[in-house]
Amino acid sequence: MNLFQAVTSALDNSLATDPTAVIFGEDVAFGGVFRCTVGLRDKYGKDRVFNTPLCEQGIVGFGIGIAVAGATAIAEIQFADYIFPAFDQIVNEAAKYRYRSGDLFNCGRLTIRAPWGCVGHGALYHSQCPEAFFAHCPGIKVVIPRSPFQAKGLLLSCIQDKNPCIFFEPKILYRAAVEQVPVEPYNIPLSQAEVLQEGSDVTLVAWGTQVHVIREVASMAREKLGVSCEVIDLRTIIPWDVDTVCKSVVKTGRLLISHEAPLTGGFASEISSTVQEECFLNLEAPISRVCGYDTPFPHIFEPFYIPDKWKCYDALRKMINY
């Protein structure tokens, strides 16, 4: 399956096993602008897979209400770039529902899905990676898969998780990434980073599409520099797996974090700050962050903007030679 088919499969499993589950958002009825919901309305009915009016704050608020009433709400925001009208509902309401009510009420059955990340031509409003805005918000979980197999398992975990979750889907991988994915449901745990390959000299951390970039950088480092890299896919942004990353840095002494989102205030800052607190004496070099520039996401300049393998490789080389 490709990534969008893996998403469809997860949604299909969810609606099959949970009679309360509903999917809603803009254009989901005909199958969605990225085809993630194809076939589901015919299979499960128009009361379970339906379009809403064009209103993100409404979509999320409505989803919260469904979840509060005890049903499973799977909301789609058409592009992560458009999640901001729903920011109040997510941050002030969904994230705080359980805490502020003393656990009398909660919206744990809410999951919000949104296409995320650069796509080659998306420019300012079809390329954004807003995970950092939500990382600062206790009470929600933010999850980003790197592949179809990961996407299905992580999405199912988000849907079943008893806390409101945001699931960002790398849109550039929707069709491009293809792998074997089981049709039956399975779960991949949240808040657990995955070590994709072990290494001894440098720890590389990324999430989503960028995991593939750092994997390639790891190969380049081995071939050109004889350097052994440990590659980690963070998978859950909050609550994040501090232990796996720190354990790795204790071993390697060097950390490079890379994300498409802009450098300043990006999630690499949080990782960097935590790691220098926990692993200060193990560090052989300053922690390196290879990120997008502090600009809106440009159109024609995308090839120069993104933190590609050459920028990551160069940063890694400097770190080795520190």
Binding site: G61, V68, S101, G102, L104, P138, G139
Partner: protein, 364 residues
């Protein structure tokens, strides 16, 4: 009912039994008594903040009485009478305002942010109008569950200006949800009068723009509020469509204890509503004229209700606050490791620096 409590149109008399109408009266007056005492307690520094319901008791009780006890309520912050009608104990109102260890909300929020699962009253949040699309979602879920339940969503005329209100109305209509939107138009959003809040014909006139059947009622006539809500409920459940009720009333009190409304409105204006058109007075006139109440019962009830409130108040004041560990729970269903470390760090900090913290007032 007119201002003297006389039924204007007998065909619209809901013919409620005496016991029920007395319950209306007791709920409204008990709320009023509790409001006076808790407002005063804030002025004395005993609680941090309070919001009264003066003048709007009719909107709360009339609507609450027309619902089933299991209908889910999403409020804004000035609907305590709904909880009062549903017999929420004084002890728990006060526990929340004091943030003491009996507060089911675990001391997390400012006063008047009540919530009660057993009475189907969703916990209040401060941001305005956020509850509107949420209530619509809950109504959609109730419809799917064939629950024969309606959801009611209260908000003020000011909150109706928020984008979330527009979102909620439109979703309720397009998705055919069994919901009652109840707007308390009380004349002011803090200091902002309605002339600065909207230029159209109030909130009821917006309903048809969304395809929502709407009605405007005299919010200070508890029977009118009851009738409108009752009919809206019947039809919402039967037809799976939303209804909008705009209840015209007046906010007799200040917006909150942080507000002094004499800065933006005249004492004469306030007195006019307090003396000439108060939901409690109108109902009392009605009860008296029917022989269902008299001056002696009034005196006895005033004394009794004040005593009940004072007892609950003194008890609430004496109780300890919850254990500071409760600062950390319920962020997620399970406590993340990182947060547990922060909790442990606070515990260690208090061991060393505890003398600088009000630990004596908190449960060990």
């Amino acid at each position: 009912m007119d201002r003297q409590g006389q039924i204007i149109n007998p065909s619209e008399d809901p013919h409620l039994p005496q016991e029920e109408v007395l319950k209306f009266y007791r709920s409204m007056t008990l709320l009023n008594t509790m409001d006076r005492i808790l407002y005063e307690s804030q002025r004395q520094g005993r609680i941090s903040f309070y919001m009264t319901n003066y003048g709007e008791e009719g909107t709360h009780v009339g609507s609450a009485a027309a619902l089933d006890s299991t209908d889910l309520v999403f409020g804004q912050y000035r609907e305590a009478g709904v909880l009062m009608y549903r017999e929420y104990p004084l002890e728990l109102f006060m526990a929340q305002c004091y943030g003491n260890m009996s507060d089911p909300g675990k001391g997390r929020q400012m006063p008047v942010h009540y919530g009660c699962k057993e009475r189907h009253f969703v916990t209040i949040s401060s941001p305005l109008a956020t509850q509107i699309p949420q209530a619509v979602g809950a109504a959609y879920a109730a419809k799917r569950a064939n629950a024969n339940q309606v959801v009611i969503c209260y908000f003020g005329e000011g909150a109706a200006s928020e984008g979330d209100a527009h979102a909620g109305f439109n979703f309720a209509a397009t998705l055919e949800c069994p919901i009652i939107f109840f707007c308390r138009n009380n004349g002011y959003a803090i200091s902002t009068p309605t002339s600065e809040q909207y230029r159209g014909d109030g909130i009821a006139a917006r309903g048809p723009g969304y395809g929502i059947m709407s009605i405007r009622v005299d919010g200070n006539d508890v029977f009118a509020v009851y009738n409108a809500t009752k009919e809206a409920r019947r039809r919402a459940v039967a037809e799976n469509q939303p209804f909008l009720i705009e209840a015209m009333t007046y906010r007799i009190g200040h917006h909150s204890t942080s507000d002094d409304s004499s800065a933006y409105r005249s004492v004469d204006e306030v007195n006019y509503w307090d003396k000439q058109d108060h939901p409690i007075s109108r109902l009392r006139h009605h009860l008296l004229s029917r022989g269902w109440w008299d001056e002696e019962q009034e005196r006895a009830w005033r004394k009794q209700s004040r005593k009940k409130v004072m007892e609950a108040f003194e008890q609430a004041e004496r109780k300890l606050k919850p254990n500071p560990n409760l600062l950390f729970s319920d962020v997620y269903q399970e406590m993340p490791a990182r947060l547990r470390k922060q909790q442990e760090a606070l515990a260690r900090h208090l061991q060393a620096y505890g003398e600088h913290y009000p630990l004596d007032h908190f449960d060990k």
